[in-house]
């Protein structure tokens, strides 16, 4: 029991940090040339650490993270169609979303480094859109799902091999706050 709780907390922490990094872009300054650097993540993480565990809202968020964000949806090379594995993954996520209708999400489409970075922006858009359309087909309201492409600009794995590339060809779901 203790171990399980510990795991949950750890998942929560990892989820929280993913969430923060996933959303940092949305908080970027509107003014283009403001020379404001990216949000200092360390500070935000401290805030989560202090107040996060007792706050029911935060706990619900961490739970949503664990259900939606921890396991990405993976794509085949140069493809935006969903594999059976990807659909099985999304089926679990759509069940969760059905039971948590207040959640708002952003589906991020990502690509590996091997393509052309500009074409990959388009491919990432198509990947995010594939996921959104599948979730909508499972009964999730279109209005709770935003999409965004990051092309090959946000890699989670930096090595130049298939093991890494396959991790980077992904759809990631971030929870909107």
């Amino acid at each position: 029991m203790k171990t399980k709780f510990f795991n949950f907390v750890m998942v929560g922490f990892i989820g929280a940090s993913l969430l923060i990094s996933g959303c940092s872009n949305k908080k970027a300054p509107k003014a283009d040339e403001g020379k404001t650097g990216p949000k200092t993540e360390a500070k935000t993480q401290d805030d989560t650490g202090k107040s996060g565990m007792d706050d029911p809202k935060k706990i619900k968020l961490l739970e949503a993270q664990a259900a939606l964000s921890d396991v990405d949806v993976y794509f085949d090379f140069d493809q935006s169609t969903l594999s059976s594995d990807a659909k099985a993954n999304l089926d679990k996520k759509s069940d969760y979303l059905k039971n948590n209708k207040d959640l708002r999400i952003t589906v991020e489409g990502h690509c590996d480094e091997r393509g052309s970075n500009e074409y990959n922006l388009g491919l990432g858009e198509r990947r995010a859109s594939s996921i959104k359309k599948y979730l909508v087909s499972k009964g999730i309201s279109e209005s709770v799902i935003e999409t965004i492409t990051f092309g090959e600009e946000k890699q989670v794995c930096m090595e130049h091999n298939e093991s890494c590339w396959s991790k980077n060809r992904r759809g990631h779901i971030a929870i909107n706050q």
Binding site: N25, D32, G37, R114, E118, Y119, G122, S130, T147, T149
Partner: protein, 435 residues
């Protein structure tokens, strides 16, 4: 006759050009040389460029720097052979205003450039003349006053003027290349001269900035930035150093401007599907030109602005297509390979340059707009990507990993005369050459 009509392409140039006057009325008689400026195979003109003279002794390093920049500009045009005439003229303190044309003529020189500099306090006065040796007269003479930091800019301008006077074709030395680099840790946009000089930072917003595209004549750069959280279109004005959002929401990527500066084309998402649109340069009321499922991106205008070449994966993999700006008369351009994208249409209209990934390696290819003579240009030199033509249509800039990393290079159309612009400046991408 003056060269004051020579357009000022950048604020740097505008500042540098404090004074420019004619030293004497130029002759308008052409050189007795026959040039074919369309084949790219014109016989180079033998030109002589003695070291400039300087009114104050002891400035050899500046004289040598001017000579190096000027020779590089002339040779890179592929229009000149700079003849080694070091045995003729030692440097001196007196300006050469009346060359011994017979002596030059007997040495096989068709055109002669002389220059004289006068060091002021913060400025250098640069006098330059171009002579027609067989005719025995001066074609043009100019005087610039420039801060030392902008000295290279006036050399580039005069090198282009020399080329225009002797060949009828405007040179590419006085131009700029914008590109993306991750040197700062973020994808920011930079601008650099094609010889690697005067590197400037354009964006510094700490987010991801991509796909810079020059407005014709320079001065403005259209690009995609995540500064507002999403891939939106922005325009940056070099004179005011300000950027403004142009098209926001959804996905707006890979902008390009028509040669007349009136129209903008880019890829915009419709219900999650990237499609090609065209709009006035304001970006307002874009007109959708494609509607097939799949990625449509990377549009580039034909020189006349009536057609677009673009990437579409409607066939299952990315290929190049051409359509008119109403979205009609669609035809597929590339028929070999399964990953062809990043096309740029030559300002001369004769070629489209693009990159093709085959067996995991990117290389540059050229194809005529009618699909003929599709051929590979680079080979066995790492990845070669993201090509963009210079205004002469005889050179392009591109990204290569040939020396490690991903550097910025320029080349002629053969792919053989490659010159590095910037290497070891982070990972570079998406260069655009001002036209």
């Amino acid at each position: 006759m003056t060269i004051s009509g020579f357009p000022s392409r950048t604020p740097i140039a505008a500042c540098a050009l404090i004074a420019m006057v004619l030293l004497m009325q130029p002759s308008v008689q052409a050189l007795d040389v026959v040039l074919d400026i369309t084949s790219g195979e014109a016989k180079p003109i033998d030109i002589a460029l003695p070291f400039f003279t300087c009114a104050q002794p002891g400035n050899e390093s500046i004289i040598e720097e001017i000579h190096r920049i000027f020779v590089q500009d002339l040779e890179y045009s592929n229009r000149f052979t700079v003849v080694d005439i070091s045995r003729f003229f030692p440097t001196g303190t007196t300006e050469m205003t009346n060359p011994n044309f017979k002596e030059w003529y007997l040495a096989g020189i068709a055109a002669l450039i002389t220059g004289h500099i006068n060091m002021g306090g913060d400025e250098i006065e640069v006098n330059m003349r171009l002579f027609d040796v067989p005719m025995g007269n001066q074609i043009i003479g100019v005087r610039y006053k420039t801060p030392y930091a902008k000295l290279r800019t006036v050399i580039h301008k005069f090198a282009d003027e020399v080329q225009f006077r002797l060949t009828g074709e405007r040179g590419i030395s006085f131009s700029q290349i914008s590109f993306v680099s991750n040197k700062s840790g973020h994808q920011e946009i930079y601008v650099v001269d094609p010889d690697g000089g005067l590197l400037q930072e354009i964006t510094a917003n700490g987010t991801t900035n991509l796909s810079p595209a020059w407005a014709p004549g320079g001065g403005k750069i259209y690009y995609t930035s995540y500064a507002g959280g999403r891939p939106d279109l922005y325009v940056y004005d070099l004179e005011s150093s300000k950027s403004s959002p142009l098209v926001k929401g959804g996905m707006n990527i890979t902008p390009a401007i028509s040669a007349d500066g009136q129209f903008l084309t880019w890829s915009m998402s419709f219900d999650g599907d990237p499609e090609i649109v065209v709009a006035p340069v304001s970006g307002k009321s874009p007109k959708r030109l494609t509607s097939t499922p799949g990625v449509d991106c990377n549009p580039s205008f034909s020189p006349g602005g009536n057609e677009l070449v673009f990437t579409s994966d409607r066939s299952g993999d990315p290929q190049l297509y051409i359509m008119d700006i109403e979205g009609g008369n669609l035809r597929r351009l590339t028929v070999t390979g399964d990953y062809n994208t990043a096309a740029d249409w030559s300002p001369r209209g004769d070629w489209i340059v693009y990159h093709s990934r085959r067996e995991g390696v990117f290389n540059l290819w050229l194809v005529h707009p009618d699909g003929s003579d599709d051929h590979q240009v680079t080979a066995d030199a790492g990845h070669n990507e993201d090509p963009c033509f210079a205004r002469d249509g005889r050179h392009f800039t591109f990204i290569s990993s040939r020396n490690g990393g991903k550097g910025l290079y320029i080349s002629d159309l053969s792919g053989q005369k490659v010159r590095p612009v910037l290497i070891m400046h982070g990972i570079c991408a998406n260069p655009s050459w001002s036209r």
